[in-house]
C-alpha cells in the first residue's frame, strides 16, 4: 500500500503544485483524475523520486520514498507523461539496457523477459526498428513495457492515453488491465474513461489538492439524483450557465445537451443517469475550477 501524508510542494516561481496531499492508495489500479495543471504530474514525479517535496511523507509499505530513493527505484516502474528515445535505438536494445539498469543481471532471464514483454506489448515485429520512428501508440506500449521490467511493486503511469486514437487507447487499456492486482498502479489522466474503464479506486485532483477520493461506484452513488439534463439552443447556453451550475455540455445530433448540478429538480430538465464524468466535472465546479468543456 502507498501512504501519502501531508505532501506539499511550492515551485520557485511561487506555484503551489502540491498542497498538503494525504492519500492512501491500495494495491490495484488507482485512477488519479484531474485537469491540466492540477498537480498530477508533480505528484507522480515526486513519487517517482524525480522531485523533492517541501514537507510531508510518502511510504510504499516500509519504503520511505522521499528519503530512500534507491530502494524505491528498485521496485518502481515509471512511464512519464512525455518521453522520447535515444536516436536510432530499437526496443530490443533499449529494453535490454533498461533491464540491466533495473538489475536483471542474468542474461538468459533477461532475454526471456524482454522477449515476453515485446510479445505482450505487441512490439515483437518491430523490435529491430528505431523507436524514434514509432507512432504514438507504439511508443506508449514501449513505455509500459519498460515500466514492467523487473518486479515492480509500484507502477506510475502519467497521462498515457493523451493523444492516442480510440483503438490504440483500447489496446493500451487492455495492457494496463493485465498488470497484476497485487501491486500499486497509479494511472494519472484527464480522460474520465481511462478511470471508469480500469480503476477500482480513484481520486480527483485540482489546484494541488485531492478534491475527492473513493471507489468510482461509491462516488457516483453519492451524486445520484443531483444531475439533470436538457437540450438547449446553442445561443441560450450562456443564460443557462448564469442560472444553473452547468457542469458540462456536449453536442448530440447537432444539438447542445447540458448537464446541471442541482439538489432539486429544475424546471424543464430530465434526470440524468450519473456517470463518472458528471462526478468529475461537478467536483471541479464545486471547487471553482474552470475547465474548457
Amino acid at each position: 500500500m502507498l501512504a501519502i501524508k501531508g505532501l506539499s510542494k511550492t515551485y520557485k516561481n511561487g506555484v503551489r503544485a502540491l498542497n498538503n496531499i494525504t492519500l492512501d492508495i491500495p494495491t490495484g489500479m488507482f485512477g488519479l483524475l484531474g485537469p491540466n495543471g492540477a498537480g498530477k504530474s508533480s505528484l507522480m514525479r515526486t513519487l517517482a523520486t524525480l522531485q523533492e517535496a517541501d514537507s510531508g511523507s510518502a511510504f510504499l509499505d516500509d519504503i520511505n520514498i522521499l528519503q530512500d530513493k534507491d530502494s524505491l527505484r528498485k521496485v518502481l516502474g515509471y512511464l512519464p507523461q512525455d518521453f522520447g528515445s535515444y536516436p536510432k535505438m530499437t526496443p530490443l536494445d533499449m529494453l535490454d539496457h533498461f533491464a540491466i539498469l533495473k538489475g536483471v543481471s542474468n542474461r538468459s532471464e533477461r532475454r526471456d523477459m524482454v522477449d515476453s514483454l515485446l510479445h505482450k506489448t505487441n512490439l515483437y515485429d518491430v523490435r529491430k526498428k528505431a523507436i524514434d520512428t514509432f507512432s504514438g501508440g507504439m511508443k506508449q506500449r514501449f513505455g509500459i513495457a519498460q515500466a514492467l521490467i523487473g518486479n515492480p511493486r509500484l507502477i506510475i503511469v502519467d497521462e498515457p492515453t493523451a493523444g492516442l486514437d480510440p483503438s490504440e487507447r483500447n489496446r493500451f487499456h487492455n495492457l494496463l488491465a493485465e498488470i497484476g492486482e497485487n501491486i500499486v498502479v497509479i494511472l494519472s489522466t484527464h480522460i474520465v474513461e481511462d478511470v471508469s474503464d480500469l480503476c477500482p479506486n480513484m481520486a480527483i485532483m485540482g489546484k494541488g489538492e485531492i478534491l475527492l477520493s473513493g471507489r468510482p461506484r461509491q462516488v457516483i452513488d453519492n451524486l445520484r439524483g443531483h444531475i439533470w439534463r436538457k437540450r438547449v439552443k446553442r445561443d441560450a447556453l450562456a443564460d443557462y450557465q448564469q442560472q444553473y451550475q452547468v457542469i458540462l455540455s456536449h453536442l448530440t445530433e447537432g444539438e447542445t445537451v447540458i448537464h446541471v448540478l442541482s439538489a432539486t429538480h429544475p424546471e424543464g430538465f430530465e434526470p440524468q443517469e450519473v456517470d463518472l464524468e458528471d462526478v468529475y466535472f461537478s467536483t471541479l465546479i464545486k471547487h471553482d475550477i474552470k475547465v474548457a468543456v
Binding site: R45, L50, G84
Partner: protein, 1198 residues
Amino acid sequence: MFWTIARFEMNFHRRQYLFYVLSGVFFLLSFLGTTTNGVQIGGDFSNVNINSPYAILIKLSTMSVITLLGAIAFSASGVIRDQELKMAELFLSTPVRKFEYVYGRFFGSFVFAAGIYLAAALGIMVGEFMPWLDQERLGAFDFNAYWYSIWLVGLPNLFICSSILFCIATATRSMMATYTGMVALLMLTFLLETFNEPATVETISILDPFGATAILEATRYWTVFERNTLLPALEGAFLFNRLLWMGIALAFLALASWLYPFNINPSRKQRKKAALLDSDTAPSAPVAAALPAALTRVQQQFGLTTQWQQFWSQTRLEVKSIMRSTAFLILLLMGLVLIVANAAGNLGNLFGTSVYPTTAIMVDIINGAFSLSLLFVLVYYAGELMVRERQVRISGIVDSMPFQNWVMLAAKLSALTLVIVAMMLSAMLAGIGVQVSRGFYEIDVLHYLAGLLFFFQFPIYLMMVLAIFAFVLTRNKFFAMALMVIYVMFLMAAPQVGLEHALYRMRMPYPAYSAFTGYGHNLEPILWQTLYWGLFGCLLLLVVQLLWPRGSEDDWRNRFSVARQRLTRPMVASLAVVSTLFVITGGWIYYNTNVLNNYSTFRDRERMQADYEIRYQLYAELNQPAITSVYTEVDIYPDTRDVMIKGRYSLTNRSSEPISEIHISLMPELDLQMLDIPGASLTHVEEALGYRIYALRTPLAAGADLTMDFDVAWTTPGFSNNGHGAEITSNGTFFNNGAAFPQIGYQRSQELQDNNTRRRFDLPPVQRAASIDDPDALMKSGLGGSGRVNFETIVSTATGQTALAPGYLIRDWQENGRHYFHYRMDTPIWNFYSFMSAAYEVKKDTWTSPAGDEVAIEVYYVHDYNIDTMIRSTKNSLDYFTKNFSPYQYRQFRILEFPRFQGTFAQAFPNTIPFSEAIGFIADLRDPREIDYVFYVTAHELAHQWWGHQVIGADVQGSTMIVESLAQYSALMAMEREYGAEHMQRFLAFELDRYLQGRGGEAIEEMPLYLVENQAYIHYRKGSLVLYAIKDYIGEDNMNRALADFLDKFAFGEAPYPTTRDLISSIRAHTPAEFQDVITDMLERIVLFDLRVTDSQLTTLADGRYEVTLEISAGKFEASGGGEESAITINDWVDVGVFGAEDPLTGVPTMLYLQKHLINSNEQQIVVTVDSEPVSVGIDPLNKLIDRNPSDNVVPAQ
C-alpha cells in the same frame, strides 16, 4: 513579411540570456587581449602600438573566427528550433513566401551574431583607453582601422560562415551536422595555414574563407612604421578573396532557400514513421492468453557485478550513439587530413628541407595539429552527452532507474575519453602512415601511445572533468562553455598577475622527448603534477556525484537537499580519503617547489633582473682585472643531475690604474661554496642577485697578477615549479661557462632586454650595443670581454658517458666508477667554453692541408643519418677557408650532438661544435632538390673558427656582422662550390623572406648592417644576401682577398679590437670604383629595390637563335630605422637572366644568360639574344638584391 519573420527571430534571441552572456564573454576576451599581455589574440604585438591599425586589424580578424563559436548558436538555431519545437507547421500555414521566411530567419539571427562580434570590437576599442596601458605604445585613436576591419573582414567573415552554416542547418536540420560544418571550416583554415609559404601563399590567400592569409600576405613584409600607420589596400588577392567568398555565401543562401522544404512534405523520417504506423493498424493481435512470463518474478540484483554491468551497458549505449553520428566520422577524417598536411608543412622546417619523421617529431606534430580542435571537440561532446537524456526526453525514465549515480557519470566519462582516444589512435595511424610513406621505419608505437594518450592528453582529460563539472553546476550548455572559456583565459592570463604555481594553475608542461634521454628529466615533476591534478579531478567527480542532475529539480535549495541525501558514509569516506591524498600530494609538491627550491614567478625574475641593474649598473664601467687563465675541475653527475665545479682563474690588471675591488656576478640559482682571493675580503654580498664585492687589502697594481679559487655547486634538488633547466640531464649535458662560472664585474647580459618591460621598472631604453664611436668599448671583445685565456680542464662524468670541453685530450682514465677527461688548449682562447657529457658513438676522419698539416675530424653522435655530410662539409669548407682566408688554427675539429630540448642551434667553441639533435642530425637529405642545410650549418660553424675565434669585433655596434655575416658568407661560398651557383637562389630566397619578415618584428630600430646591434634578421639574413651580392659585383677573388687582408691585420690581435669600419675599408680597398656605391647601399644604408618584368617578348631569329625583349620596371628606396621608405634614384648594375627548362633531377632551371645591365631609370627596355629556347626571363632572377616583391622578378618567356 520578411520583417515580421526577422523581428520574430530577433525577439526570440532578445529574450535569451545567450546573447548577453556571449557578448559579455567576447567583450571581455578582446578587452583583456588589448589591455594585458597574458591574453593574446592573433599574436604578439609588443613591437607595434597597442592600437596600431595592424594590431586592430589582426585582432578583429582573429575575433571573427572566434566569434563564430558563438554565432553558430544563432545562425543555425532558427530552422532547427522550428523543427525541435514542431513550430514549422505553424509558420508554414501562414501566407508567407518561402524566401521571406528563410531570409527573415537568417537575417534575424545574423543581427545577433553580428552583435556579439561588435561587442568584441567594442572590447578592443574600450581597452585602448584604459589608463594602465603603456602610454608610449599608444598612437592616436584611429576609427578608420575599426571601420575597415569590421566592414571588410569581420562582418563579411561572419556573413560567409553564417550563410554556409545556415545552409547546412537548413539542409540537415541537425545541430550536430551544423557544428561539424563549423569545425570543418575552422580546420580548413588551420590546414591552409600549414601551406603558408611564399610559393603557395597566393592560392591560399584566395581559398581561406576568413581572408586572414590574404591580410597576412599583404602585410608580410610590413615594417613597424607601416604597421603603425597603414591598412592593407583592398586590391589583389585580398579583394578577390572577399568578392569570391561573398559570392559563395550568397550562393549558399540561395541554396538554403531552395533546399528548405516549404510545404509540409514529410521528411524521409516521417514517411518511414507513417509506414510503420500503417503496418501497426492491423487488428490488435490477441493478447497473449498465457500470461506473460514477464510478470513471473525475475532476479534483480544490485551488487557490484550488476553495477559494472550497468556501467558497461550505459557506456556501450553512449559510445554507439557517438560512433553512429556522421559528425564524429567527419571530425576523425578532418583530424587525419590535418596531420598529413601538418606533416607536409612541418617536416620541411628549415630552408624547405625535410627532417626524418621520427616518432618524437610526429608526436609533436599531432599535438600541434590537435591542441585546439581537441578542446572544441571535447567541450562540445561533453555538452552533448551531459544534456542528452534531457534533450531526447528520456531522462524521466532513466533517472528513476535503480542505478548508482557513478554508473551514469562513469559511462559518460568513458565515452568522452573514448572520443579522444579514438581521435588520438587514428592520429597515430596517420602518423605511422606519414612515416612509412617517407620510407622511415623506426616506428615507436609505445612512444606514440605514451605521448598521445598520456602526456599530451592528461590536461585534456582534466578539462573533460572540468567541463562535466561546469555542466553539472550550470546545467546549461552555453553557460558551461562560457565557464570553460573563462577558465582557459585564466590559465593564459594568470602569469601576468604573478599566479604561476602549479598548485593552482594546471599547466602540465609536455615533457620534451629526446633520443638522448627519452622523456627524461622533467618526467618526475610531471608525474607528481599528474597525480595531484588527477586527485583534484577525482574530488571534482565526487562533487559532481553529489550534484548530478537526476530528476527535475533545478533550484539550489533542492539540489543541496538532494546532495545531502547522497552524502552517505562511503561518500564521506571517499571525500575524506581523496582530499587527504590531494593535500599530501600538494604538500609534497610544495615541499619540492618552495622548500627544496626557490619558488619564483616570471614577474619575480623580471624584478630580480631589474634590481640587478638598478643596484649594480653603476659598476658597469668599473676597472676590473682580466681573466688570463682558467683551470677547472668539473664533475658532472648525470644520475642526480648535479655539477660540482672547482676552478682557478688567473687575473691580471691590464689597465694602467691599480684595482682595489673585485666584483663577482654569479647566476643566483648556483651555490658558491667557496671563493678565495688572497688578500681580499668580502665586503658586500647579495645572494639573491648573485653579486659580491671583494676588497683587496693591497690594490692590484697595473700589470700585476693574482689568482682566484672557487667552488660552485649546481644542484637540482627535487623539482621546481618551472622545472630545473635542461642543461644537466641523465644523458646529454651541455652548458657553458656563462651559466655556471663566476664572472668578473657587472654583466650587461643580465639586464632586461625588452623596452616595454624596462619601462615598467622605470629603466631607460636598453642600449643593445655600445656606439661604434665609443673608444672604451673598443677595448672589449665581442666574446668574453677582457681578452684571451689559457684553458685547461679535467671533466669527469659517469662511466659510459664521454665528457667534452674545448682543447685537446691529454689523458682519460677511470677512477671510482667515474670517467675523467683531461683537456688542454695549447693556444689562448676567448673566455667562452662549454662542457658536455653523453653516451656517444664517434666517427673519425682526417683532413690534410696542402701544406701537409693534419686536422682530426670527430663527430660524436646519437643519430647517424648525416654524419658523412657533416664530415664532407668540414673537409670542403676547410679546403675553401684555408685556401682563401687563412690557415685553420687547431689540429682538431669536433661536432657534438646535444638533445633537442636544449635548443635547436649549433654553436662554435674552439675546435668544438655542439650541434642540436633537432637541426642537422635528423635532416632528411635524400631529395637532391632540397637545400642541404646540414652542409650549410656545418660550414657556418666551422667558419666561426675564423670569424669569432681568429678575429672578433670590438663589443660595439656591428660586432655581430664580423662574426655572423662573415660566417654566413663563408658557408654560402663553401655551398656554392659544392652545389653550383644555380642552387643558391633557393637559399637566398629563404634568406630574403626571413629578412623582410624580420623587419616587421623589429622591437626598436632597424640598423644598417655595419651598425647591427645583435639583430639576427640583419646579421644572418641580410648579411648573407648583401655579402653574396657584393661578391657578385666585385668578384669572388676580390672579396676573399679583402677578407684575408682583414684577417691578416686583426687575427689573434689584442685590444683595441676592430670594428665593421675596418672590415668595410678592407672590402672597399678591393672594390672597383663603379661599385663603391654598392658597398655604401648594402652595408651602410637600408636600401630596398622593387624590380619586376612588366612584359616580355620572344622572337625567333633567322639564324635559329632567340631574342627576348624585357620591359622592366625598377624602383629603389631607402628606409629609415623605423621602416619609413622614400624613393631614391636608381643607377645600379642588375642581373638580367634568361632560363631554359628545369633540370629534372635538381629542379633548377638551366641558365642561358646572366649578365649585369645598368638600370638607371624606372622604366627600361632590355634586349637579350640566346642560343636555346628560353622558358623564363627575369630581372635580378637570383634575388641577389633586396626586393619586397621577389616573386615578380621572373616571368615566363612569351
